[in-house]
Symmetry: C2
Subunit: 468 residues, 2 copies
């Protein structure tokens, strides 16, 4: 059996590892465009900030590790063609040679690229960014930004999502000069628009204000021109105002687009989110071809519709399933994506699971909303920290659809409890009565997760019109 | 409608509050033996240690609070008789008067008393402890211990359960002299025997060793005599050795016994654990009489059998249900007790839910065991803390029966996720695939809770004989 894996990111590297675990005999070839082996993309903002003290530390599995596992890793490979019926790939090596590679099963883990929004002057004809414009997708991208930030640079960030804010905090943490960050621009009216609701985002924004982050929301960079650095034209959508910002570099973190050229050439079904459609076994529409990670789309647990996979955690889980199945084993994903997500920004841990309020409304669901803020300890006990939980539930049956948690600590672990609840279709009624742990030095009698569910339940019982 | 509540602990006080919330017209009488109103019993070890800086801070709802809520609280009351068919109580007031009190619904929240094991010379004929012997059940108990500890006293603690260890840590924290704590004695072979398994207890014991706590396990204090302080005879059960320890005071924390005299006189069914049997609506076997808190026993979610309620968190939840129902509302408990429990000892947070391994074995179940230790952050990220999770699952269907978590932080929130899983009869297979939150500054790709489930799943798949 020969298993070929394209891509050595979280999904591809995990697939290789689990293919090996499931099948000690199989020939496993891991094609990697880069030369580092597998590294943590999610960790890159922290190597930029200096919290992680070198880029090398982000490399979790160097090429030698794969070799020790009996996985033939080929760094610097580029896939130039595919003949799916013949189960064969054309692969270019770093030396320029071209080779035909046969597979019994193929795993596509081609990842995604940074999507550059339509900013006049920001890209070359081939789509790559011009000088002074950066994206953060690969370790080489991160190193380029690191070099650019070494001097006293004014940095403008496009995108107030997860990556944009993590990079913004990193830029400020380097803190050579106070005006290192001249702006964080987003077309959305609040921070982290895909991740959390506006009310929770305001808590993050308030914390960021203490760090003097210059947010420019409801705004877009429409064009840039090179003139003693970069002059970026900013369009404030609501007021239709246009202004100009001077910067030395632009970092674009405004979302990703799945890399699916190879899958498309192989005849794999591409979904409405632009990703390779996979089932619970990570199979594509083409027999013998599996896919995993950011290049795929998979069923959302709540909506039942296909959704883009854009989380490292899901990539690893899919990689495991794809690798196991491609090697003749049997593994499968849960019934759908929960999109459990978290980060730490400006001293706050933020976590969420399931759709946001805006996403539910787009789906025509006006959820029951419950929110509670409480201390992590009983009132009389010193050292308690404030934590806020918000829960969204279906107005028909009260089952929990999504949740968001924010506080200095413990947000993601609370979101994990909500994840278990959502997966089991628990209602706010049941969840409000969850027997949580209590002890004065550890936790109050009722955790905010149950209080948020209780607030939603009370609202539901009163038959109040769903909150906006 | 007249609602009479006997006992103003967590259960009784909460019952009064929710009776009032459910029924604005009802006459509510709250009979309290003590004079403080409602205070946190669980917080008392921390007022002893000085972490909470006064005993007054433990009073969450003073008598005036109840009065403001329109609840007639009667501090210093003693109930002297009951005529259940006539729905009437005989109540003694602090001034010595006696009064007959009629009820429409009665809530018994009489709590429990400290069980003093058979130690010759430790108790008076009426069962109360002799001079130099202390228990910790009421605020007055706590104050008495506080006064006794004010001088340089050698303290011997009987019981290495939750309360015993919390008090042991408090005694050491006061730290006037290094030999303030001369011993913590327990008949069990490991710490926290009812709470966690031996392997997890060893982690606590190792942490305690750093604090030089003198444990005397597999041992019992069999008798004491007063002789220039207290001479306690210690019986080491395994070796049958007997020795003597000199101490100035003995603190007995070896479990509790439900206070059910009144319930028994009322004709309420008393269960095998010695508690008042209640259903999910906190009803007793006598019409119109409800009960809540440590005086009750309720169905265990896993075993389906009646189990003693000994947790403040459950007392509050039952109080709410009893109060609401007694006032004509409608509320109920979850299908059974999960016994979610936690504490912080010697720098470690310990949490557990469901039966321990020993308890399952007593029930004839040889569970599948999975255990995992990991860091709270990815390896390359600074500041990660070690955390261990252990899961116990049913060998027939793999459903999770219990879990234990220990680490510097985040143990109880992980136990809460397990609680949601157990309540929904999730299997280790499903739980191992739970989509947990991931971000380098917050959490690793797989949380230890899923890794423990995965370890159990692997063991199960291999069909290995259940672990001991």
């Amino acid at each position: 059996v020969k298993i070929v894996i394209v891509g050595s990111g979280a999904a591809g590297a995990t697939a290789a590892q689990f293919a090996r675990k499931s099948n000690r005999e199989a020939e496993i070839v891991l094609l990697s465009r880069e030369t580092y082996g597998e590294y943590s993309k999610c960790g890159m903002p922290y190597a930029l900030s200096g919290v992680v003290d070198s880029f090398e530390k982000l490399i979790e599995y160097p090429p030698a590790w794969f070799q020790r596992m009996g996985i033939e890793i080929r760094p610097g490979s580029s896939v130039r063609g595919i003949d799916a019926p013949a189960r064969s790939l054309t692969v270019g090596s770093p030396s320029g040679d071209e080779e035909s590679l046969h597979w019994n099963t193929l795993i596509l883990a081609t990842g995604a690229r940074t999507r550059i929004p339509p900013i006049k002057g920001a890209t070359r004809p081939d789509g790559r960014p011009v000088e002074g414009v950066y994206t953060l997708r690969t370790l080489d991208d991160a190193r380029a930004i690191d070099e650019a930030l070494a001097g006293p640079k004014r940095c403008l960030i496009v995108g107030a999502g997860l990556i944009g804010l993590e990079v913004a905090e990193a830029v400020m943490a380097r803190g050579k000069n106070t005006d290192a960050l001249v702006g964080v621009v987003d077309i959305a009216p609040h921070l982290l628009p895909g991740m959390i609701d506006e009310d929770i985002a305001r808590v993050v924004q308030k914390a960021a204000a203490g760090h003097c982050v210059p947010f420019m929301l409801c705004s877009a960079v429409t064009s840039i021109r090179q003139d003693d650095g970069i002059r970026a034209e900013l369009h404030a959508v609501a007021s239709d105002d246009r202004s100009e910002i001077a910067a030395d570099m632009l970092i674009v973190a405004a979302g990703i687009a799945p890399e699916v050229e190879l899958a498309r050439a192989a005849g794999c079904c591409i979904g409405t989110c632009g990703g390779i459609v996979v089932d619970g076994r990570c199979g594509t529409s083409v027999d013998g071809i599996y896919a995993a990670g950011d290049c795929t789309e998979y069923k959302d647990f709540i909506t039942g519709r296909l959704a883009a996979v854009g989380l490292g955690s899901v990539a690893v889980r899919q990689g495991r399933v794809a690798g196991t199945n491609a090697a003749g084993g049997d593994d499968s994903m849960p019934r759908g994506l929960l999109n459990s997500r978290t980060t730490r920004l400006f001293g706050l841990e933020v976590a969420a699971v399931g759709p946001t309020l805006a996403q539910l409304k787009q789906d025509g669901i006006e959820p029951i909303v419950g929110k509670a803020t409480g201390s992590s300890l009983p009132e009389y006990f010193p050292g308690g920290m404030s934590i806020t939980a918000k829960v969204l539930a279906h107005p028909d049956d009260g089952r929990i659809l999504g949740a968001q948690v924010i506080g200095e600590e413990g947000a993601h672990l609370r979101a994990n409890a909500f994840a278990a609840a959502i997966l089991n279709r628990m209602t706010i009624e049941e969840f409000s009565k969850l027997e949580t742990c209590y002890a004065p030095p550890v936790a109050p009698t009722f955790d905010v997760i149950t209080l948020a569910a209780e607030a939603a339940r009370m609202r539901w019982k009163r038959g109040a019109s769903p909150a906006s």
